[in-house]
């Protein structure tokens, strides 16, 4: 049974990716681009610079966790965007005032946790749907951040970005045989591993998973499923805040005034989480794949003048394709592939 499940799992991901690329090709053709050239530019461009690839992967890895962990408790955290903005903003401000790395990151993370907690409390104790709170908060934090970096924390020497993070509070990179790699990548990998261990080897992780799969069973077992919902959202907020904090303190060292460096990380995290099937270890791989798409998209734009939003289109299609678990089972059973799978 387990082996069959693995194969279906892989088929699902491969199938979704294929659909995504297929539709993407159609769109490219319609717009007058050569799909093969575009995709090769995408993939090669994506993989060319390892450091860039892994760094971009870091942020969506963390927002992937931000979506996955609440998803384990059957809650949808699409507030990753807002958590990223606020985490970035908070850590920027703290770094500016204190110059301390640890404090900046900690505050960034705590702010994210508060946001998650707010969403959780509103959901559990007031019954407000978390999708609505998330989107509203996303926009509120977007504008708060925008206001602050253009009016108070702006950089007088460079009008297109905020103040820079002081050198003392920057997280740098290390030199490896494969070249220079930003430290933040390793931080996120460790975070994923720790999360996996917590989720599958601790009582609280188990309790959250039970709450997500069967609320009444969790109650029966003496767990407190409502509190677990809040905890999972707090954790989600922590990851979101961490992603924003690391971006500011460990990569771009400032926030640009168009917010383009922060925009979309939260939503991309959703795709990463789905592709990684909500498994922290799977997310490590799916985030690298995703990063390839994003980075490759930039390259594709430069080389072929194809708009990088095309990648958004691909990603959107991928997510829709990933919402169809049963579709694959239905299709598979119809084509009797199941029989083949069983023989393995």
């Amino acid at each position: 049974m387990k082996r069959e499940e693995y194969l279906i799992f892989i088929l699902e991901i491969a199938g979704s990716a294929l659909i995504g690329f297929f539709i993407g090709s159609l769109l490219l053709l319609v717009l007058g681009f050569d799909p093969l050239k575009s995709f090769s530019s995408l993939i090669i461009g994506g993989l060319y610079d390892l450091d860039y690839l892994l760094s971009e992967a870091t942020f969506v890895m963390l927002t992937g966790l931000a979506f996955s962990i609440p998803a384990m408790a059957s809650v949808f955290n699409i507030g990753g965007e807002g958590q990223v903005y606020l985490g970035a903003l908070a850590s920027l401000i703290v770094a500016h005032h204190t110059g301390n790395i640890l404090l900046s990151v900690l505050i960034g993370v705590s702010v994210g946790a508060l946001v998650g907690g707010l969403m959780g409390i509103l959901k559990v104790y007031k019954g407000v749907n978390e999708v609505i709170t998330a989107i509203m908060l996303n926009w509120i934090f977007y504008y708060i951040t925008l206001y602050l970096i253009t009016n108070i924390y702006y950089n007088p020497l460079a009008p297109y970005e905020s103040i820079r993070v002081p050198k003392s509070s920057r997280i740098g990179y290390i030199d490896t045989p494969l070249g220079r790699i930003h430290l933040i990548f390793f931080i996120s990998i460790i975070t994923c591993i720790i999360t996996y261990i917590v989720l599958y080897n601790t009582k609280i992780g188990y309790s959250i998973r039970v709450s997500g799969l069967s609320y009444k069973s969790a109650e029966y077992a003496g767990f407190n499923p409502s509190k677990n919902v809040v905890y999972s959202l707090v954790m989600g907020g922590v990851f979101g805040g961490l992603s924003g904090a690391l971006k500011v303190v460990g990569f771009s060292y400032s926030i640009d005034t168009t917010m383009s460096s922060l925009y979309g990380i939260g939503f991309d995290g959703i795709g990463v989480a789905l592709l990684g099937r909500n498994n922290p270890l799977g997310i490590i791989f799916s985030s690298i794949f995703y990063s390839m798409l994003i980075v490759g998209g930039h390259i594709m734009q430069i080389e072929l003048n194809a708009p990088k939003e095309l990648v958004d289109t691909l990603i959107g299609t991928l997510i829709i394709a990933l919402s169809l678990p049963y579709a694959y089972r239905i299709i598979l059973s119809k084509f009797k592939i199941m029989r083949m799978v069983r023989r393995f």
Binding site: N201, K203, V210, S217, G222
Partner: protein, 502 residues
């Protein structure tokens, strides 16, 4: 009652149903029903009665055989073909929309017949209510009506669609004895109006009291059809059952007088803030099985949920030994030595998780240390349960939803027993299980009693209560209306108390 050929409304010839996995649900069934009969179909779980009816209703396709309705060969593709032919089936679980009014439900049904006028439906319904004496308030929401009236709405639906043959699947399983009486008189009215009624049941007494003819089924075949006036309970029982499944619950053991669980003047409300348990008191002693008898919905569920802390106690107290455990959190109550096996396998188990994870559900103290789960211990525990309780599974890592009901139940009970509790509460432990599983589980409960545990058994299956209990409590309308030793109370008395008489 003439048995002329023209009066045969249903006839099947060599009707069989074999499932792809080899299970033979029906074998060469020749079933005959005459017009205007109240025809009972009697059999235990798995005898094939429901399968037969579902085939007649077009829900299941037969593998072999001929079906004739009103003398004509039919080949139904779905229930709507059956309904158009004049057959209507009333299930145990009604197909009514609870938040709609009765009239809205009737209009919805009539829509499928092309009738769009609320007015005409209303008038037709009133006419039917007059001629058959079956009345229901048209403007009340279905969810606000008692079960007996809801069932009546179902029957009204059937009549509204010009049904001439009515199939009732275990209609009395959710009714009180008084509502059952009302149902039976309704059926007599329907008979007068020329409607044929097929009545599926596993209750011998009912079959004898209301039907004209009884067909007994066993393991997919018809054992025989007998005229009710010529039938006796003993004859029918013999036809129905192959072997005696009575568990020899020895009651000559000295039961200790030590009270292990005591409940005083409990008042409990349900989710809608309605008082469901109205001042209940009783004691559970060590080394005894206390059976709580009663039709589902009389407060039993709320009572046991309150004992384990899943429902709030508004008034009253619960004591475990000398300790007051009223309104304590569930996890604490479990650790004090109470185990609970709920009536639903979707609550007691997490269907999407595997056996190991499910076994750990209420064993967190044994299986976890410092917040971390030691999976090796969990696996050991699971193996223990699987071995001792004969849980059949390919692997411990299989998701529990792939196990049969019987095996899931064994897992649940095994898990709770292995917690070595002082008190174990079980609700509907053998509901929907096959004979072997039923026998096994009942034996386990008796074993627990022999080991000196206190067993609180809640069951709507009277046979089970009678077989297993040392003392029996009957619940009706949130109160315990009787609490006596098992040999001091009769089946009839329990039945009447369950129905609210006295």
């Amino acid at each position: 009652m003439s048995d002329s050929y023209n009066n045969v409304v249903i006839e099947t010839k060599k009707l069989s149903k074999i499932y792809p996995d080899g299970v033979i649900a029906l074998r060469d069934v020749n079933f005959k029903v005459y017009k205007g009969e109240i025809h009972g179909v009697l059999g235990e779980n798995g005898a094939g009665k429901t399968t037969l009816m579902r085939i007649l209703y077009g829900e299941i396709k037969p593998s072999k055989g001929i079906i004739k309705i009103f003398g004509k060969n039919v080949n139904f593709k779905g229930p709507w073909d059956a309904i158009r032919t004049g057959i209507f089936m009333v299930y145990q679980h009604f197909s009514l929309i609870p938040s709609f009014t009765v009239l809205e439900n009737l209009v919805l049904t009539s829509l499928s017949m092309g009738e769009k006028s609320w007015d005409r439906v209303s008038k037709k319904a009133e006419k039917i209510m007059k001629t058959t004496g079956l009345s229901v308030p048209l403007d009340e929401k279905v969810e606000d009506l008692p079960i007996g009236l809801q069932q009546r709405v179902e029957i009204l639906k059937a009549l509204l669609m010009n049904a001439k043959i009515l199939i009732l699947d275990e209609p009395t399983s959710i009714l009180t004895p008084i509502e059952t009486k009302q149902l039976f008189s309704s059926l007599k009215e329907l008979k007068k109006a020329g409607i044929t009624v097929i009545f599926i049941t596993h209750k011998l007494k009912e079959a004898i009291s209301i039907t004209d003819k009884i067909t007994v089924m066993r393991k997919g075949i018809i054992v025989g059809t007998i005229e009710t006036r010529k039938a006796t309970i003993e004859k029918l029982a013999k036809m129905m059952v192959e072997k005696d499944i009575k568990v020899n619950a020895k009651r000559d053991r000295k039961t200790s007088k030590e009270v292990i669980l005591s409940v005083r003047n409990l008042e409990i409300k349900d989710e809608n803030n309605v008082l469901k348990v109205k001042s209940v008191s009783f004691d559970l002693k060590r080394g005894e099985i206390l059976g709580i008898a009663g039709v589902q919905g009389n407060g039993q569920k709320e009572l046991i949920e309150a004992i384990v802390g899943l429902k709030k106690v508004e008034r009253g107290k619960i004591y475990l030994g000398k300790l007051n455990i009223t309104n304590k959190p569930t996890s604490e109550i479990y650790s004090l030595g109470i185990s609970y096996v709920p009536d639903s396998r979707c609550i007691g188990l997490v269907q999407e998780m595997n056996l190991i994870e499910n076994s750990s559900l209420t064993h967190m103290k044994t299986v976890s240390k410092n917040g971390f789960i030691m999976w090796r211990m969990a696996i050991k525990l699971t193996k223990n349960i699987v071995y001792r309780y004969n849980v059949i599974t390919k692997s411990l890592k299989t998701k529990v939803k792939y196990l049969s009901g019987g095996n899931q139940q064994r897992l649940m009970i095994g898990r709770e027993v292995l917690r070595k509790p002082k008190v174990i509460i079980v609700a509907e432990p053998t509901h929907g299980l096959d004979l072997a599983a039923t026998k096994f589980i009942r034996e386990q409960l008796v074993k627990l009693r022999d080991e000196g545990k206190g067993v609180l058994l809640v069951s709507s299956d009277l046979d089970e209560i009678l077989q297993l209990s040392d003392r029996i409590a009957v619940m009706f309308d949130g109160k315990i209306v009787a609490l006596k030793k098992a040999d001091e109370i009769s089946l009839e008395e329990i039945g009447m108390l369950m129905g609210g008489a006295y």
